[in-house]
């Protein structure tokens, strides 16, 4: 109950700030940046895997949001809207860098992934998870980050990434299957660390 009313309060304030920006008080946008930039950074980092890229994505995300604020529709929260802008930009960044080896056509080549013995050397949970995330294609990685970390529905992700609902679903499924392949042996170790 308390959480719901708190969330609603936050959304109203976001909406009020957006209203002020649209009516010419551009400094009201500062509040939105202040409130959402750190979570956008975390999302951008989860998709790009690079702090420098994530910073760039955050910058570009808010610049774009500022310029297109009149296009914001309150069907989604501002947080969701800004997340999807960031996810698309993060995806573009990765495409430009061509950093990703895995593509949707190479799904079955993940057997070349480092085995548990190799992973044991890296020790850090973060490294292991990052290794697993690196097995995902751009689309899988983005769809998974939006579904898992941002809590967006498959339908919303499909709309925002311009994919069909089925393609989005398949991306999430493939992402989970690949994660399972790499992380499966590690799950017990992770749980010990989380607890």
């Amino acid at each position: 109950m308390a959480v719901t009313s708190l969330n609603r309060g936050m959304e109203e304030t976001d909406l009020a700030a957006i209203g002020r920006v649209i009516t010419g008080d551009r400094d009201a946008f500062a509040l939105l940046v202040e409130r959402h930039s750190r979570s956008v950074f975390r999302l951008a980092f989860r998709i790009t895997g690079s702090e420098a890229d994530a910073d760039e994505v955050v910058q570009e995300t808010f610049l774009r949001a500022f310029r297109q604020i009149h296009r914001y529709e309150s069907r989604a929260s501002f947080a969701t809207w800004i997340s999807t802008i960031a996810a698309n930009l993060a995806l573009d960044t990765l495409r430009k860098r061509k950093r990703w080896v895995a593509t949707d056509e190479h799904i079955d080549k993940t057997d070349a992934a480092p085995g548990p013995a190799r992973l044991a050397e890296s020790r850090r949970i973060g490294d292991v998870i990052e290794t697993a995330m690196n097995q995902l294609s751009l689309q899988e990685r983005t769809a998974f980050a939006l579904r898992h970390y941002e809590g967006l529905s498959i339908e919303a992700i499909a709309r925002e990434l311009g994919l069909s609902e089925n393609a989005t679903k398949q991306s999430v499924f493939r992402a989970v299957a690949k994660l399972r392949r790499v992380l499966g042996p590690w799950v017990g170790v992770f749980l010990l660390c989380i607890i």
Binding site: R26, D27, F29, A30, V33, E34, R35, H36, S37, R38, F41, R42, F45, R46, E51, V58, Q59, F62, L63, F66, R67, I125, G126, I129, E130, M133, R147, H148, S153, I154, K169, V172, F173, V176, A177, L179, R180, L183, G184, W186, V187, G188, F190, L191, C193, I194
Partner: protein, 208 residues
């Protein structure tokens, strides 16, 4: 009875499919719990964070880019704002070890950015005093940046600069709200003595 596919279990995990079967069927429940452990463990990935002033820096940069696009300010001015944002960034404690000479860099960056800010403010206020009204957008930008600089100066313990910035802020607020070209406004700017203070400072820096 049909058992659930891996895909069904993923949808259930994310609340996009009803979980009734998982409650009833021990076999599927066991598989679901395994998936839960896998996906919950994804939350254990450490993600770097940004400090509380991150938003302010991002916003400062957005403003610079936008202002440049709108042609309201020159490159030098944009550089000064960017430097102020950089300075604010450097004030934040970093988790990693900092180079020893960081204090020097900080004060040099602030100095350079401040000089530029004072010069722009001096030019704008001189225009207003000479009835050559500066645009309200320029004044708004100056005011916003003045606030940023004042906070930076305060954090850096630059008492003298902070005092001048405080005086400037009062004047800029008045200018922003007064009708352009009002004679009382000119008198008030002159009475405050900020233009004089700015000229003195510029002379000291050897830029006038």
């Amino acid at each position: 009875m049909h058992h659930l596919t891996d895909e069904d279990l993923v949808l259930i995990y994310y609340g996009e499919s009803p979980r009734a079967h998982v409650e009833e069927c021990a076999e599927c429940r066991a598989r679901f719990q395994q998936l839960q452990r896998l996906l919950n463990s994804m939350d254990a990935a450490p993600v770097p964070d940004r400090d509380a002033s991150y938003g302010a820096r991002i916003w400062a940069n957005v403003r610079v880019v936008e202002a440049k696009r709108a042609g309201r300010i020159g490159w030098a001015w944009a550089g000064a704002i960017a430097a102020a944002a950089l300075f604010a960034a450097m004030l934040q404690p970093k988790p990693s070890t900092e180079p020893v000479a960081m204090e020097d860099v900080r004060s040099r960056v602030l100095e350079a950015a401040l000089d530029s800010h004072f010069e722009s403010t001096r030019i704008a206020l001189t225009e207003i005093v000479n009835d050559d009204a500066a645009s309200i957008d320029t004044v708004d930008d100056l005011l916003a940046d003045n606030r940023l600089f004042r906070q930076s100066a305060h954090a850096a313990g630059e008492v003298e600069s902070e005092q001048l910035l405080e005086d400037l802020e009062e004047v800029l607020v008045e200018v922003a709200h007064a009708p352009t070209g009002s004679p009382e406004l000119r008198q008030r700017i002159e009475k405050k003595g900020v233009l004089f203070a700015l000229r003195v400072r510029a002379a000291k820096e050897g830029s006038l």
